[in-house]
Symmetry: D2
Subunit: 362 residues, 4 copies
């Protein structure tokens, strides 16, 4: 199904940029987990437009409402529906896109697939679609905190264009990430990134970069052999986010330039348990977590919607020019950080419950 | 489920390296598709061990048998079971691995997850597991040939260690790939790669690289918005293959260093239909194919099993040394080419049928 | 998943009796199907409480709102979310059920499973849960009308307690069903049923019965062999409705008292196509529709919540007495008619799309 | 998918009556469960043809082979493939069915759906298809024995035509069922049934009946609200068996003729836990087991293939006569007893694992 994710902790999202609302249903959530709208709002606020001067100015509070599945502050085990109503919709700003396809956006492919599309604000292809994911993931995080106390998921901007941060995956903290509006824990580089994004926006252009995510405290044994390898599900999860172009885990593409004797992570006993001396595997071997930090990087392309005039074609098949209006992010990465975290939490929570189903242990 | 893939064209694989057999069931295959064991054997032969001097010498004919779902040379619409019996099993060569975990292999994580593992030849974590995938994909290719006549899937070795080939994704041909044992269509570079792999093997070491895959002739409209984006499913598919560390599509990680005005693929009318002038998108926009060639790259790490002595721990938690015996590939890439093709065919066939379900067109 | 139904046309429902709202997301709906809130409201009105003097007096307009997936009066192929906000909630009327389990209701089993339950109005075990099903089925009916023009689904009350109607499955019309408040097309028997239900209610008691459903105009070829037989999915669908105890198709239990020579439906050519002379099969053979009318019966038990004092136990494990208050149906059947229709439409629509996926035809 | 069943304990079956083999893959099985081919063979022997004078004389040992997923006598957590090769195939005995459709069999509907069918022995619509189910269920029983020690599943013939047995669901034992060839624990009635079946066979005819199944020792809390109610999944499971026409649980259709005050099962504390005084609910309330015995009945029609001449049509659309040859059961019920048990075990095992996933308890 197009809009469902997960097997044991399954989410179903809905909603368009300018439709009535966006939201999610979470099915399979364990009962008796503490949950409030505030738990969800915290992450939605990190994702919302208008949060800083380097993101889209669309003005949405993105206030969530839990419609079901929670009773007296606790989950009941039944489906949890969360909804956010769209407020600041301005369909008229998208009128050009009714008849012209934005280059490298989803306008043309939706039309080719469905023979119809909601052209207002990108419809389902808008980044607003991720609200349901982030809301569901806030619930997943509550579950994970109970199943694997001490587990931490930290994502951050690793690079913007050529500007690359230096970050220690074993030590980076959430607070360092949230300390600046670009969400890069390397404070000096963050400044440069912010200036650069402003510059690019002033030029009516856009820019991409990479996000790195690390999971510390994940128990050994999560994930499955063969198709549902933990890294395969993480890759699918993050590459289902808008604007992504690549995923690599541990040594990644650079690892292809090492020999086995350099790349293998020797095992050793440390602090009474099996550990690896290095971690080029990125915390996963054979599709299953090994207890070391899991870390991976995701490539985000420059935002497709720019304010420069571009060549394109009309829905009736004629060459034309398009210059976008509307409100758009010059760089999606600052707001994509909570989205990457969200997909990571969803994958881990799903696999934690699946592991419990089959193996009877957390 | 650990060993199932696809929604409408769903495969279920089974089998260990040294168990009785490996194989697959394909459920949901359209009826009246011509299919013989020879159609499947062709691809199994490209995947099998012992096929050349740069792969594992394990001697397996990998002869397949169709047990069901085909009648008088045609699929009947019922499940197609394909089985390959293991012949050249030598469990004694793996005796050390009964008690010691191979670094960067799945030995430890299987034990951590299940509390038991078939240590003979890596069990389910062996590359033999991919026989079922390749067999199923041979069926998928027959279906695709009927649903989208002219569709072509070509995968090839793009790099081995630092040795990178020059290949034109718009023109590369299957025959050029199969012209040499390393499966690199750049003949000059292929020679260097072969020599290098031999050298590495002589040193008891292993090496990785990248595989590129291109799909030409894919209709616009395949894939789904949100979670089951075509590139997300391709990423999951290929990253579920053993030894993979990364995936990138179109511009990939390099695309993060471009601006939107450089990265966007302008649309234009060409030969009577909507085309893009460039193809940094890699043939997919918003999760849905746009009719341009789909191409992506996959990173493979150096094989974990090497013949040098390595530090590791025993199943009872003591530090030890391990030197592997057995028969292993010094470099998985030549045999991984048909595996990448296979996962690509499976994803496309599944999405083709899903598209037909929802939209009623091929 | 507890609250999902269907594979290709998949619905996810949510909501409790006294929570904020109830509703559904439909994923996989074909694009360009005409759809308005009025199309959905029509069936919700047939399901809603307070519609007549023989059902619960709870006062809910059950006005639905489409939140996504429809643009300019047509489905877009993206998820359709429909929501109904709860209005006339009176949690105080359920206060006794906070601590005492209603006999033959779901109070105890929810507590045993989840260790928590929303006791207000039965929570998720309330008949309000079926709003999402009926709303989704209204969409399914629009799809079916396009895929199989002329297809008709007619459900009706066949018996209440000992009062059994005489109905011709080949001729019964929707208008005859809707002509009276008990939804029995045998007008004379309907009068008796209505009187009987009033009598039972006056006594503080409740009563059950059977609903029969017929599908005319279903094409041959829908359904699948083995597990997802059309009748198996219909059985699952209707037996997932609250208060159901049995399902039989065609000859049903009575068929077990016939010999093969009496039971077999001879084939014959009629009006240029393959027909059966009799229809004890009930329109399905080997799990697949044969083009004849599909008809089946569903047993509904008497409503569990009655106004007589009953023996039960408390949540803390003590014997006690319980006398229900609140607003309850003395007989669920009149309102269950659109629910049975709904599950039938959902099963058929799902199988129609699955058939199209695999076989490429409607 | 047509040939898959279960979510957490998922089986995929394959195979035709006269194809090379029939079998199953079980995915999601917990690790470290003792399992041998003998554990599976025991149930296959109860299902196999030729086992007594009242079933089909086809001579098949149905000897199973485990191809994967078991190591040193224990499950490994990876897919378990079990295969049975067909031996006594006699396609020539089905030659008439190549061109004529057997009344009330699946010949016509398979042709209508797929445009092709394996007419030898009924292909996938043969009762041989159930071998995979029975094999998988033998594994499920091993799992259940560990998750819920003491759980018992006992199915038996309750009636043949008008001959109905008297059986106490709370006390009936497996040994009583297996004590005679018709598998009816009422010994006196069993004799009559056996004579009757012989008589019917001598007349070239066939006969149906009902099977009852009871589960004792099922913990409270298995099953899910809404769509995947335990009774809905049981109904789907058994109605996916060949020749079934109806399902009823607890009071069933007879319950529709009671009032709520007669039908409700009062709760009481007994032996320190919540029990019901009566059990008209049949052990399930709101879709979730309540700890009381679960019992239900299944209607089986008379076998479609009879030796009397019947009217039918040819594949080219002409009226004709058909008189079957081949080897057929005059009554499927004796062999259907292990099939009903099998579907029950599969449903319970799946829900046990799903319950553990969500609620963390067995």
């Amino acid at each position: 199904m197009s809009s469902q994710f997960g097997q044991a902790f399954r989410i179903s999202t809905f909603g368009e940029s300018h439709g009535g609302a966006v939201g999610v249903i979470v099915d399979g959530c364990p009962p008796r987990i503490a949950l409030s709208e505030a738990d969800i709002q915290r992450d939605l606020d990190r994702r919302r437009p208008g949060q800083s001067e380097i993101v889209t100015p669309r003005d949405e509070a993105d206030a969530c409402k839990i419609l079901s599945g929670v009773f007296e502050g606790k989950t009941t085990g039944t489906p949890i529906a969360v909804v956010v109503f769209n407020k600041d919709a301005r369909p008229e700003a998208y009128r050009e896109m009714e008849t012209a396809f934005r280059p490298s956006h989803a306008d043309y492919t939706y039309q080719a697939k469905y023979g119809i599309r909601n052209w207002q604000g990108g419809g389902r292809a808008s980044a607003r679609e991720t609200i349901g994911r982030v809301a569901a993931a806030a619930i997943a995080k509550q579950v994970l905190a109970q199943l694997a106390p001490g587990i931490e998921i930290v994502a951050y901007v690793k690079s913007i264009h050529e500007l690359a941060a230096t970050v220690d995956v074993d030590a980076v903290k959430f607070e360092e990430v949230e300390a600046n509006i670009v969400r890069c824990p390397d404070a000096a580089m963050a400044e440069k990134m912010i200036s650069f994004i402003k510059e690019v926006r002033a030029a009516g252009d856009s820019v991409g970069g990479t996000i790195e995510c690390v999971v510390r405290g994940c128990p050994a044994g999560w994930g499955e052999p063969v198709f549902d390898k933990l890294e395969a599900d993480l890759a699918k999860g993050v590459l289902s986010l808008p604007a992504t172009k690549g995923f690599e885990i541990g040594s990644g593409f650079a690892g292809t330039r090492l020999r086995g004797s350099e790349h293998n992570d020797a095992f050793e006993m440390r602090e009474g348990r099996v550990r690896t001396r290095t971690n080029l595997s990125g915390g996963i071997q054979g599709g299953i977590s090994n207890g070391e930090p899991i870390f991976f990087r995701v490539a985000f392309k420059p935002t497709a919607t720019i304010f420069k005039e571009q060549d394109t074609v009309t829905t009736s098949g004629e060459d034309t020019k398009l210059q976008a209006r509307g409100r758009h992010d010059p760089c999606v990465l600052p707001r994509a950080v909570p989205m990457v975290e969200a997909m990571t939490a969803l994958v881990l929570c799903d696999h934690a419950l699946r592991h419990r189903a089959q193996c009877g242990r957390e």
